[in-house]
Symmetry: D2
Subunit: 242 residues, 4 copies
């Protein structure tokens, strides 16, 4: 059975900025969705901020095994009720992949409990993402020891996250900074993967290796089981009588 | 220099319920504060829900190295702005000790990113808290392999928390359930300790071993350094020119 | 493609002790292998201590995606060279499932770096294994909140292991002790799962739920990728010139 | 009471190589010990490979709260019996600080369970160690966001270690590689800190910030309590009758 992926994009930069539109005429979500669709085992749809309920109705969320999240300029426009819905779905088992500036999204900050802050610079500099966990499913098929992106926005440490449960990538930048660019956590029955690449003014989601990582991450994060969020009262001996 | 501890209590059960008042006439916070005060190296004050700003003004929070939190029936009465303030202080380095039904407090759920739900039963049953990490500062001076509490409310697994960074205690109950009764995490520069004992209708905070654990936990969690929560823009080469 | 599982058993108790032989006439490994074989997606073979190279030749290890380990009375008879071989395979990506008294095996102690000691008692008492991580692949299809084993050897905390990366089960025993009965770690590219059930004088590996957990664990731990264990010298700029 | 620190050094390079001797005429251990001695709260001694029992008699180990380890060319000359003794002491609560090429020491590989391999290059290049966990005791008093070392040997990822429990530093090198330069783990009751700086042909242990980190790490890792390594048989109800 296919893994059901929903690619969520704020989809504002693409409408407002010509440079971004030139790279992603239909939005970043369409480029990502198209790449994932080619994998064969992923069934992909998209959702964006300005759709009703941000495109994330209860029905859509219930039918999603992995949600990919890209946001930047409009984090505060995301309704709390939708964030509640997504958080609940993650805790019950839905995977969550947060991309680039999504580090500051409501949903990521909720799952982490920290500010998720970092240092940054826009200088079109080279980033090298080093594989720190070769053999992990998220880097399957990546045979080089690093991924080189010629022009990126810099994100630098300290990255205010809870200690990663798995560190998949660490980046260095031409300017000398470092960043934990690929990290995983589990929250409830859900798996969370943060992946740094993806500034809107560079064609990063057209990069086949970046696409491969996101594809792998969908397989890794896909919902496997369900966790109840009930908090039941239990009479003495209830489990023996069942 | 003393460790500055603030014991926060919802302080509602004690006012409304005669059984509770009989055990804690001045509130649980007073019993806990008195026990901590005897340690010698802790400088202790208290704060409660019905004080202005819940007793947690910016000045109080700024002057607190460890905050202890007990709440139950009035979690929803805690203002979001105060939760924001406490969360920020924890990320900057303040320790946070969450007791018993505080598992469902806004602040604990914020720090964890999960529901913090569990199973429960009130049957005045025996709890045995097993030391799973002997040698840890939180169990310093506890020479027995377990702490026995003759009458407690039961909390049972699954406890919906992120995997503990340190598991200090695991409880068994007379009815057969188990629970991770002492767990630690770090969030930003702050240390968080969840400690299960403490139902309001049993005299648990009068127990000297329970008091010793909380005292130890204050020393373990005390603010040691400060983390900035800024997200600065950094020009190329900034760190070399300093 | 099938997951290639090798079930390793010390296979001494079954030869020496009539009680054990009555329960496992062909050895515990045969009962486990038979159960796993019924899953359909696992290709299973067995290996035992008294075979040449303990049945774990380089060829067998190279052809194994998951190794299951049961040992007890003869841990010290396992050759260091074979332990080296298994450890290397795990670090390169082979899964390792350690059962019951295997907690004291050379291979498990090597992977953990600790004594892996615990408290114990043989009193044929009831064990209840509580699911602490519902929704995890290792408990897939287990719909009850706990697994009840009517007669077991007791293992009690403190269990001298590095903090578990995932806690899957915690047991309570009739006598009141608790134990982390299902724990996972990663070492190199390999996944390690310790699962407590399985004393040789109780028919525990005939239990269908225990069999289901081990089957699930094989799928969870199966080798996914390969990690090189080289420690190469790298000239300046090597990764850019490739 | 003072924290009792033992600085262990292989002390072979200094005897054989004139360049090293020029930087560390009495050995690296003496420079480190002298720096730690100035802290005031540390009581410091040294031990070296060519002393009887490598200077680590049972009496010395029993009187040590933190052991610092530097080795490189003679890892294989360290006797297994002494490694056993040190490992046991760590599990019982002694702190262990492993420096630079000590990543390949027997004791560090034992505690980790992995190869502890990495990539490397000697090109006298600049290393920048970024603080990833500001506010942590190990970086107390370090007010800059990074430590700059003008000439170092490069160590590059993947570093074959179990996932760090705390990541304190991540380095970038002039050549573009990255490395987790400061990591912590707990094993038994002992705390372990790996700290990368320190090649023998650069005067790195003369650097006051490097000295400050090691001083802080001694305070952080110091033995706080004791863990028994027994594996006792427990009769039914033993804990209730005590």
């Amino acid at each position: 059975m296919s893994i059901r992926v929903t690619v969520w994009n704020e989809f504002r930069h693409e409408k407002k900025n010509e440079t971004v539109r030139a790279i992603y005429p239909d939005g970043m979500h369409k480029v990502i969705a198209s790449a994932l669709g080619k994998a064969g085992d992923l069934s992909v749809r998209t959702a964006t901020l300005d759709e009703p309920e941000h495109g994330l109705t209860q029905e859509v969320v219930d039918g999603t095994d992995v949600l990919i999240w890209w946001g930047h300029m409009a984090h505060s426009d995301v309704q709390e009720a939708i964030v509640d819905r997504v958080q609940e779905a993650v805790l019950k088992g839905m995977g969550l992949i947060v991309l680039h500036s999504g580090h500051y999204s409501k949903i990521f900050r909720r799952m982490m409990g920290t500010t998720c802050g970092l240092c940054w610079r826009e200088a079109a500099e080279r980033e090298v993402l080093w594989l720190t966990k070769p053999g992990h499913p998220i880097v399957e098929g990546i045979t080089e020891p690093c991924i080189i992106l010629p022009q990126t926005e810099m994100y630098g440490e300290p990255f205010d996250i809870p200690e990663a449960e798995e560190t998949i990538f660490i980046s260095s930048f031409a300017g000398g900074e470092v960043f934990r660019s690929g990290c995983t956590w589990q929250r409830g029955a859900g798996k969370v993967f943060y992946f740094r690449p993806g500034h809107e003014t560079y064609p990063i989601y057209h990069d086949p290796t970046v696409q491969k990582v996101i594809t792998n991450a969908c397989r890794w994060a896909a919902k496997r089981g369900t966790k109840s969020l009930d908090c039941p009262n239990r009479p003495m001996g209830w489990f023996e009588k069942k």
